[in-house]
Structure formats: structure tokens, C-alpha cells
């Protein structure tokens, strides 16, 4: 069992942080449910690894509490937490055999040797390393080494959560797939809580039930992959998730629509009203997947100048100029798109407004 709760946890690497900008991790409340598969997604320097190291106890937070299964464990040493961690670069003990590598965490915890053997053989078989147990670990390939790092967590019967810090960085693309599949299988069999740090959105979205998007030390959205795609609550999420990212354009409310450089985009009247009363700089966001394109005029479509059409094989990306703003639309492969003028539609269901980056509900 491992339910991991953060209560007002914040961390700064500086001794006396002044503003929020000095924090690698800004105060946050979060709960990782027992048995969940989570991904921490964000660019470099967004606080992913800091969050992970606080969870495993490699780092004690400057502020706040970490609760493991409801017990305050903020300052509990790493070795006493039922949490294992796999690092970006495979950590193996060079001089030991594969068997001894697996056995190391158990022997350190004074587990009896027959039990050690039983656990090690079981885990090694599951990871497909059963026949190299007597080999030196240093001679193995990167993916096998990374499996050993993972296995050192799995052999411990007390481990209830495994944290991964970009574990597939040094693995070649082919092994990546099989390793990721194995991870899912392990998650399924062991019912462990898995927290997976990555900056690769495809990795995060395929691996996790819940994705935490981090931006400048702040968890800007926690949600399922569908949530992140369809209902980004922050312009950063819109921009970071998806390829290409969300179109985000400055706008102002004009009646029941949003005006962008003189073009009026119709909105749900209630939504427009709420946006009008929101504070801060307003932006309109719509994913390229939801922007409609037509070659000729139609009700609700706005005229735009098509500046670029990129054919990516199974779909096309159309870059268009609406007023002074450039935006992208993803259209199907069989649609004919000519350069020059075209018409764009903005379904109000998928058109969101953001005030200072945060979504207007």
C-alpha cells in the first residue's frame, strides 16, 4: 500500500528563498493514489526530478509535509521508505554479478539467504534475466542494466511504489517499446504505485492513467491524457501537449464573441460573459485538430490567408493567417487545400479562453 500525499510541499535549493521564483517546486497539494500510474511531465527545470526526489526521500522539502499512507514521513530516511527509484542512467554495481545486484537491497536489509534467492530468481525470470544471473552486470546492454535497476526495487517485498526518472533516455527505440510494455505488465501484476518522470509527452500519455504537467515548479494540471488534450486548464498544457500545440492568440471579448485582430469568433454567450468578468490578459486557445477548414465561404467561417500547407502523409498541417495572427489547423489527408485564401471555423465547444494563462470555466 502506498498512498502518497503532498501537503503544501515546496522546495528551494537556495538557503533563504526570496520570491516564488527562487523555488524549484512551488507549494503544492497532491495525492498519488495507491496503485495508480502517474506521469510527471514537463520541460527541463520544471521541478519533475525535485518532486520525485522529495517523494523518495533523497531530498527533504523546505516546506510542507509528505504523508505516506497517512503517516507524516517528511523526514523519513530513504532506506526506510517503501519506495524504490530508477534513474535516468542505469545504476548497477559493476563488480557484482546480476544475482548479487538484485540481492544487494535485500542483503542490506538482513533478509535470510534462502528468501533472497527465491525473490531474486522470481524477479529475474519475470524481467527475462534468468539466464544471465551469474554474469557480471557490467557487460550487459543498457536495457538489461536498466532492468536490473528496476529489479532491485521489485525484489523488495516492502516496496509499494517505484519512481522512474526518465528511465528510457539511454535505451534504443526498439527496446523502449518492450520495456514500457513490461512496465505496464509489472504495474498490473504487482499493483504498485508508479510515478514516471519524462519530458516526452508520448511516453507520458501512453504510460499513465494520470498525468501531472509541471511548469516552472508548479503543477499546472493533473488529469487523464484525454483531459490534457481536450480540456487543458492552462495555456502551457495546451502548448506543451499535442503536436503541433494549441493555437493561442490574444483576444478581447466583444458581445458574445472573441475579437482577434478584427475577426470576431463566436462563443457560447454565457462563456463570453464569464470571460468578460475574468481578470488578466485574455487569450483564446483552440487545438489545431479542432479548427475547421473550408475552401469556400460558409456560415460561421472566417476568411483567412493560407500561408503554408505541410503534408505529413496521414494528415496535413495548414498554417493560416487570421488578421495578424498565425494559427495551425490539422486537416485530413484527402482534403484539398490550396494556398491563398481559405475559410476557418472555430467550434465553440473546443474554443477556450484563458485569463493570464489559466482557463476560464
Amino acid at each position: 500500500m502506498a498512498r502518497i500525499e503532498f501537503k503544501g510541499v515546496a522546495h528551494s535549493y537556495l538557503r533563504s528563498p526570496k520570491g516564488l521564483g527562487d523555488y524549484a517546486l512551488q507549494p503544492m497539494d497532491m495525492t498519488f493514489k495507491d496503485g495508480g500510474a502517474y506521469a510527471l511531465l514537463g520541460p527541463s527545470g520544471s521541478g519533475k526530478t525535485t518532486l520525485l526526489n522529495i517523494t523518495s526521500g533523497l531530498l527533504f522539502p523546505s516546506e510542507g509535509q509528505v504523508l505516506l499512507d497517512g503517516v507524516d514521513s517528511t523526514h523519513l530516511p530513504t532506506a526506510q521508505r517503501n519506495i524504490a527509484q530508477v534513474f535516468q542512467f542505469p545504476v548497477i554495481y559493476d563488480t557484482m554479478t546480476v544475482f548479487d545486484n538484485f540481492a544487494f537491497p535485500l542483503r542490506n536489509r538482513k533478509i535470510k539467504e534462502p528468501e533472497v534467492r527465491r525473490r531474486v530468481v522470481q524477479v529475474a525470470e519475470m524481467l527475462g534475466l534468468g539466464d544471465v544471473l551469474n554474469k557480471r552486470a557490467r557487460g550487459l546492454a543498457a536495457d538489461a542494466k536498466q532492468k536490473i535497476s528496476l529489479g532491485r526495487g521489485l525484489v523488495r517485498s516492502d516496496v509499494a511504489a517505484i519512481l522512474f526518472d526518465e528511465p528510457l533516455t539511454v535505451i534504443d527505440p526498439h527496446s523502449k517499446w518492450s520495456l514500457r510494455r513490461q512496465l505496464k505488465q509489472i504495474h498490473h501484476e504487482f499493483k504498485l504505485t508508479l510515478i514516471y518522470v519524462t519530458h516526452d509527452q508520448a511516453e507520458a500519455l501512453t504510460f499513465a492513467d494520470q498525468v501531472v504537467v509541471l511548469h516552472e515548479g508548479r503543477a499546472v494540471q493533473v488529469g487523464s491524457p484525454t483531459d490534457l488534450f481536450e480540456r487543458p486548464t492552462h495555456t502551457f498544457v495546451g502548448h506543451f501537449i499535442g503536436s503541433p500545440g494549441m493555437n493561442i492568440m490574444p483576444c478581447e471579448i466583444d458581445g458574445s464573441g472573441a475579437r482577434i485582430d478584427g475577426c470576431l469568433i463566436a462563443l457560447d454567450p454565457d462563456y463570453a460573459k464569464r470571460a468578460a468578468s475574468a481578470n488578466g490578459k485574455l487569450q483564446l486557445g483552440i487545438r489545431p485538430e479542432f479548427v475547421r477548414y473550408r475552401a469556400s465561404a460558409a456560415e460561421g467561417y472566417l476568411p483567412a490567408e493560407i500561408t503554408l500547407v505541410e503534408d505529413l502523409g496521414n494528415y496535413k498541417i495548414v498554417t493560416a493567417r487570421l488578421g495578424g495572427q498565425l494559427l495551425k489547423a490539422k486537416v485530413s489527408e484527402d482534403m484539398r487545400v490550396a494556398g491563398g485564401s481559405g475559410w476557418l471555423g472555430f467550434p465553440s465547444k473546443w474554443t477556450r479562453l484563458y485569463a493570464d494563462g489559466d482557463v476560464v470555466n
Partner: protein, 292 residues
């Protein structure tokens, strides 16, 4: 296929061959030349074959100098390697002024000319004006007279040697330690490893490369040592601190016995070469699971 055989290609290695010849082979051949001849003067010389070798190997003075040399080099390795590693382990790890200061202080003995090192210790150990000599003699009340007591001479030479060269081992070991990624220490904490286990299974294996270099350098340097003990004790009292090179210089320059000295040099050279090779091979294999 399509390979062109042209012996003129040998000319391409000629510059390197010449360099190595002037650098190593020709001086070495001069020594070999001396070692197989009895030279009376510029025009009179007799080829004596392996006579000098036979004679020098049977010489008691050489045998005891050789034994002394092995004891000395052995002690050097036994003291300096563990001590250097221990110092490296307690040196500050984070970059900052404390680290820079430590590094400079550590490097100081390595920057002093060797004969000055000897002179420093001569003065340092003097009971009348030397800091350490005075301390032992007056404060501790132990009579200290290293120029006449062999054991005290040995202790003095060892002290000087350890002070002079342990920093090299420490700096090499420190470089090795700094190169270990943080993830190893973090993984060890998660695996519940003790400080000893971290040292035994992470730090020591990761230092293998630099320690190989440290052991080789320390063995060769200590085996060839001349200047510092020559200045400090002059090889005495008696022959008690006469190491191989001091003995060699006594024969070659003192007695001008170039035949015997030549044979001695060749044997000396081969011992260093053989030991370096063995150390290197053993250290390359240690911890990799291959048989040494």
C-alpha cells in the same frame, strides 16, 4: 582487395622511429654497450659478455640494496595508497572556495623541486633549529638523531616520502570520486547500503582506473627514488638508506665502474618494466571477474 603493397610506406614511420631511437633506444644501447665490455680508456676495451651481469647479481651490496628497495616501495604503496584514498574521501565534494583551497594545499608538495624537498626535511628534522626535530627532541624528550640511527633514518625518509607523494594519490583518487554520478549514491541510499558498502561496491570500483595509475606511478617513482633521500641521508647511516639508484650512482659516478654500472642499469630497468607490466595486468583484471 585492391590493397597496394609498397614498401616505401615504411618511410612514413621513419620520423617516429627516429624520435624513439634518440629518445630511448640509442641511450639504452650505450648502456648495453658498456655492460658487455670492460672499458679501460678511450681506445682499450675488451668484450666480456655477461661477466658484469653475473658479478653484479652475486654482489651482496646489490642484493641488500634491492631488498631495501622492495621494502621501501612496498611500504610506500601500503601507506600512501590507503592514506591518499582516505584523504580523498574526506575532501570537500561541492565546488566552492573550501574545495579550491584544499586542492591548492594538497598540490603544494608536488610543486616543490625534489632537492628542495630534501633540504626542507634536513632542516625540519634538525633537533636544534628544526620544528619537528626540536619537538621530538625537546618537547617529547626522545633523543632523535636520524643521521646515525638507521631506524630513525628510515622513519625520516618514509615521513618525507609520504608527505611528498600522498597528495598525488589523493588528487587522483579525488578526481575518480568526483566522476561518480550522484545517481549511484542515491541508488545506494534506496538500496539501504551502509557507508562501507558504498565504498566497497561503488567508490572503490569506480576509482579502479585512477588507482591503477596511482599505484603504477607510485611504484615506479619510489623504485627510482634518488634525490630526496640522497639530500636527507646521503644513503646512510652506513648503507641503511642506500636505495638502488643511490647505489647505482655510487658505482657509476663515484667509482667510475661503467661496466658494472651498465649491467646494473639494465637489470634495474628490466625490474621496473616487469613490475609495471604485472601491476598493470593485475589491476586491469581486478574486479572484472577475469582471472588475474
Amino acid at each position: 582487395m585492391g590493397k597496394i603493397f609498397d614498401n616505401r610506406a615504411w618511410f612514413l614511420v621513419l620520423p617516429m622511429a627516429l624520435l624513439v631511437a634518440f629518445n630511448a633506444l640509442i641511450p639504452l644501447m650505450t648502456v648495453v654497450n658498456y655492460s658487455v665490455q670492460d672499458v679501460f680508456d678511450a681506445t682499450h676495451r675488451i668484450f666480456v659478455g655477461a661477466d658484469w651481469y653475473r658479478e653484479i647479481l652475486r654482489s651482496d651490496r646489490l642484493q641488500s640494496a634491492l631488498l631495501r628497495q622492495f621494502v621501501f616501495s612496498g611500504l610506500v604503496l601500503l601507506i600512501e595508497i590507503p592514506l591518499g584514498v582516505a584523504i580523498a574521501l574526506v575532501m570537500p565534494r561541492k565546488s566552492g572556495w573550501a574545495t579550491s583551497l584544499t586542492l591548492v594545499l594538497m598540490a603544494l608538495p608536488l610543486l616543490i623541486p625534489w632537492n628542495v624537498i630534501g633540504t626542507i626535511w634536513v632542516i625540519f628534522l634538525r633537533p636544534d633549529i628544526g620544528l619537528l626535530g626540536h619537538f621530538i627532541d625537546h618537547t617529547l624528550g626522545i633523543r632523535f638523531d636520524y643521521p646515525t640511527v638507521p631506524l630513525e633514518a628510515w622513519v625520516s625518509v618514509m615521513l618525507m616520502e609520504v608527505w611528498h607523494w600522498t597528495p598525488l594519490v589523493a588528487l587522483l583518487a579525488y578526481a575518480g570520486l568526483r566522476a561518480i554520478p550522484d545517481a549511484y549514491y542515491q541508488a545506494a541510499r534506496i538500496d539501504g547500503a551502509s557507508a562501507w558498502a558504498v565504498f566497497r561496491y561503488i567508490q572503490l570500483p569506480k576509482m579502479r582506473g585512477v588507482l591503477t595509475i596511482a599505484i603504477l606511478l607510485r611504484f615506479v617513482f619510489s623504485f627510482l627514488i634518488y634525490t630526496e633521500p640522497f639530500v636527507l641521508t646521503g644513503g646512510g647511516p652506513g648503507d641503511s638508506t642506500t636505495f638502488l639508484s643511490i647505489y647505482l650512482v655510487k658505482i657509476a659516478v663515484g667509482e667510475f665502474d661503467v661496466g658494472r654500472a651498465g649491467a646494473f642499469s639494465i637489470i634495474y630497468f628490466l625490474i621496473v618494466l616487469a613490475f609495471s607490466y604485472v601491476f598493470y595486468q593485475v589491476l586491469q583484471r581486478v574486479g572484472t571477474g577475469e582471472k588475474a
